[in-house]
Symmetry: C2
Amino acid sequence: MIDNFYPVVPAGGSGTRLWPLSRRNRPKFLFPLGGEDISLLQSTVRRLLPLSGPDRLLVVTGAAHLAAVREQLPDLPPVNLVAEPSPRNSAPAIALAAALAHSRNPDAITGSFAADHLIADVRGFHDAIRTAAEVAGAGLLVTVGLSPTRAETGYGYIKTGAALGIDAARTVDRFEEKPDRSTAAAYVSSGEYLWNAGMFVWRADALLAEVRRQLPDLYDGVLAIAAAYARGEGPRVHDHVWPTLPKVSIDVGIVEGAAARGRVGCVPGNFGWTDVGDWDALGGVLAADDTGTVALNVEGLLSLDSADCVVAGSGRPVVLLGVRDLVVVDGGDVVFVCPRARAQDVGSVVQALRDAGREHLT
Amino acid sequence: MIDNFYPVVPAGGSGTRLWPLSRRNRPKFLFPLGGEDISLLQSTVRRLLPLSGPDRLLVVTGAAHLAAVREQLPDLPPVNLVAEPSPRNSAPAIALAAALAHSRNPDAITGSFAADHLIADVRGFHDAIRTAAEVAGAGLLVTVGLSPTRAETGYGYIKTGAALGIDAARTVDRFEEKPDRSTAAAYVSSGEYLWNAGMFVWRADALLAEVRRQLPDLYDGVLAIAAAYARGEGPRVHDHVWPTLPKVSIDVGIVEGAAARGRVGCVPGNFGWTDVGDWDALGGVLAADDTGTVALNVEGLLSLDSADCVVAGSGRPVVLLGVRDLVVVDGGDVVFVCPRARAQDVGSVVQALRDAGREHLT
């Protein structure tokens, strides 16, 4: 347990990178992609519960996913499950959660933990969050960055600054966009950069002060909504105010501006983190058979002279003959095939389908 | 029309090379694989009708396929549609058809035309069959061989002999098994070999004489069955006698032995023949889109950065990203992926499924 810790799990995304498994209305956090029987969301909550208990853990999800989330998390108090009336990116969701936690406990330490990431070393994760909470206690917004293990071009990076004197915590100089390959390699070899996984810990009042400074409309809005929840009128006011709030990410809307004023710290983490970002990444996470092929929800995969594939199904059998490094997904109403090396381009497929007026497949 | 010509279409196969489209109970001749709306069987019959008319055209099919065949060929007299009680390879089916034709017309010229081949140049085909019928009139068993267009290792070959003086007809020295690549290349460059497509024309009495000589049990059996059909007791006797007949192909059981005695002639054909032998061959037959990809029964194929694939479906959409020369088949209850270069190995998939007790997928 961490005193006064109210972790927040935003579970509102509708990522397309695991299409055609994940869809607009079937986000990947609802699927058991971690090699266990539980969904990514359930796995995220299970990992946080030892730090907060169920009474302080908040989940913010889309109204469309509320029923599914409630079903997956029956032990969470219903009041801790907040439904967004519509998607407005991450800043409104996370700021509202901070306001709700603050209304319950003025010393609340809150933060944000994506619902669809995987972490292999839960103990290492807990240690990093404890350190982050300690750093946050001094008033800094804290990001838990990941020590890079490769020159990844798919993530943003955190340029670290001076040591803060609490374990390995440092100040944050600035946030960097997704780099090209040579820049990424330079970041990694410098030892001064961390992957930005969008994992945050902060005092609720410290975050709200930054929200008030940078996005005053958002501040007024989430305080009004939180107050309404406290007096039992939450959903009505939430529905009314929500559409007026700025649609912006917590990184761009708040954290970068705070970093520019020296108000952001970071704690390096090294706990087997992955965002299960695409089919190729999923292939690296799940247990492979002795040919290196990973199968997810495939009834009786038959793999002949084939290796290192990622196969996901809708229950039906899949048969591979003489193929390697291929992604094969039977999405139920659509079949998708691409090389693992093209897995990060799945978004272009979804876009092409939408452009062609075939949203029903996305 | 060809006088006394009774073409026979054996439609009993349960080929597995277009698995998972074709199955034990769904042979490929029932599917429209020729790029037209009609099935391969319908296309075969349409091609033969100008030579025989419907009253002389015989189709021998498996009892399991009888209803489907009847539905596809409503204009054929029911008496010309013969149901095999069980599969016994091609010699019994073709010998029985010859016996039936002979019982109707002692001067019958009959033969065999596979139900699942495609022919682009129907006029050239008709010319070759007319020549074959003329050669057959002299008492030879005649095979129509195809002038090879490549060093194909998937077919048997016919070694031709002396000219017979009727168009390009020649004697047949012998039949050769499927060769290795260098042997195939030598065959083709010699100019003396034809592909053996299993296409035959002969006088019914000449064939029956060879059957009597080489397989007397088969001769007695098919004559007994044909006599029973003539007196209206066909199916009962057919069911009774059929299981006693030798299970052998017409090539091995009759034609090769006849060739050894100099009783086989051949007519070279060059009329755009293909046996649609596997998915790769099918990809060469059907019309491709401008990326070289062929789609069969796919609702809304989306092909991004992909080329030269063969995609067959069960109506659902298929999406390809960044793949080439791939076979992707949505078989409804199973999804199958292999490179076009491995298409000839689909039989090993079917065998593996059967070995694993998964016959229901085959």
